[in-house]
C-alpha cells in the first residue's frame, strides 16, 4: 500500500481560490500493478484577498502550517498571495 498527498485542481469561488488536499492510497501488487486506489479529502487551502487559511475536512485539526508541511508545493501559492497584498512601507 502506497500513500501520497496530492493537491487537486484549484477552484475559483468569486474572489477565493480553493486548493483541495487529497490523500491517495494505492494498493499495488509486488510487481507494481495497481489493484485499487482510495482518495480521502483532507483539507482545503483557501486563498482570499488579504487572508490565507485552511479548512479541515476530517476530524483532525489542520492549521495552515500543517497543510503546507503536507503539501510543500502550496507554500509558493501562499507566499505569492501574501506578496501581492503586502503593503510596502518606505
Amino acid at each position: 500500500m502506497e500513500t501520497e498527498i496530492r493537491v487537486g485542481k484549484e477552484l475559483l469561488a468569486e474572489s477565493r481560490m480553493l486548493y483541495p488536499l487529497v490523500r491517495i492510497s494505492i494498493l499495488k501488487m509486488i510487481d507494481g500493478k495497481v489493484l485499487g486506489c482510495w482518495l480521502t479529502p483532507l483539507a482545503m487551502l483557501v486563498i482570499e484577498p488579504g487572508e490565507q487559511y485552511s479548512v479541515s475536512l476530517t476530524e483532525e485539526e489542520m492549521n495552515l502550517e500543517t497543510v503546507l508541511d503536507l503539501a510543500p508545493c502550496l507554500r509558493t501559492v501562499v507566499e505569492r498571495a501574501r506578496g501581492i497584498h503586502r503593503i510596502k512601507v518606505s
Binding site: 487537486g8 485542481k9 487529497v22 491517495i24 494505492i26 500493478k33 495497481v34 486506489c37
Partner: protein, 209 residues
C-alpha cells in the same frame, strides 16, 4: 481421360482450395506501445504457420519535428480541383436516413463478425493521469468498470492511475484467430440486406434512392 473431366477436376480442385482457405484459421497478432509522444508497434498475419504479412508501425513524429509547409500560391486550377473533390466527398457521404435505417443490420453484421473472432491472448497496460488527481481516480474507476462490463477483467489488462499530472502511456498486445469463412458468410448475409446494399451504393457511387 477427356477434356471435360480434366476441366471438371481442375474446377473441383479450385473449389476445394478456396474452401480450405475459408476454413483454415488465420492468426493475427498486434502489439502497440505508447511511450512518450510516439506510438510504435508491430503486426502480423499467419496462416498454417506461414507468415502472410508482417509489418511494423513506425514511431509517429513528435510535434517539435513536424515541419510546416509554406503556403503554396493559390492557383485557380487547384481551387477548382479542391472544389470538385469536396463535391465528390459530399456526394459520397451516406444519407443519414439510410444510415439510420441500416443501423440494426450493421449491428447484426458486426455481431456476426465479432463472433467469428476468437481472442487467444489479450493484454496490456494503460497508465493514465489527468491534471487533477480526483479526475484521474474517477477516470480509472470508469475504465475498471468498463473492462469488467466488457468481460476483460480476467485478461491481463491493467489500468494504472498516475496522480502526478497529465500522462498517457501504455502498451497493448493481442493475438486473435479467425476463420475467413464466418467473416465471408457475415459479409454475404450483409449483402443480402437491402438497406445495407442501398447504403453501400450511396457510399460507392453517391446514388440516392
Amino acid at each position: 481421360m477427356d477434356l471435360i473431366s480434366i476441366i471438371s477436376a481442375m474446377v473441383l480442385i479450385l473449389i476445394i482450395l478456396c474452401l480450405m482457405l475459408l476454413i483454415v484459421p488465420v492468426h493475427l497478432y498486434l502489439e502497440l506501445c505508447k511511450d512518450g509522444p510516439s506510438i510504435v508497434g508491430c503486426y502480423g498475419i499467419t496462416c498454417l504457420g506461414i507468415t502472410l504479412k508482417r509489418g511494423s508501425i513506425p514511431p509517429t513524429p513528435s510535434e517539435g519535428n513536424v515541419t510546416v509547409k509554406e503556403p503554396e500560391r493559390e492557383d485557380n486550377r487547384d481551387n477548382s480541383e479542391q472544389e470538385e473533390r469536396q463535391r465528390q466527398d459530399q456526394k459520397r457521404l451516406p444519407n443519414p436516413r439510410s444510415l439510420l435505417d441500416a443501423f440494426p443490420a450493421i449491428v447484426h453484421v458486426l455481431k456476426d463478425l465479432i463472433r467469428s473472432i476468437k481472442f487467444e491472448k489479450i493484454g496490456g497496460r494503460l497508465c493514465i493521469g489527468l491534471d487533477d488527481p480526483v479526475d484521474t481516480a474517477v477516470m480509472s474507476g470508469y475504465l475498471w468498470s468498463a473492462l469488467s462490463a466488457v468481460g476483460l477483467h480476467r485478461a491481463n489488462i491493467f489500468i494504472e492511475p498516475y496522480f502526478g499530472g497529465a500522462r498517457l502511456e501504455g502498451d497493448f498486445r493481442a493475438e486473435l484467430q479467425s476463420r475467413v469463412l464466418w467473416a465471408f458468410m457475415a459479409m454475404l448475409r450483409a449483402l443480402g440486406e437491402k438497406k445495407i446494399r442501398r447504403l453501400m451504393m450511396e457510399m460507392a457511387w453517391g446514388v440516392r434512392a
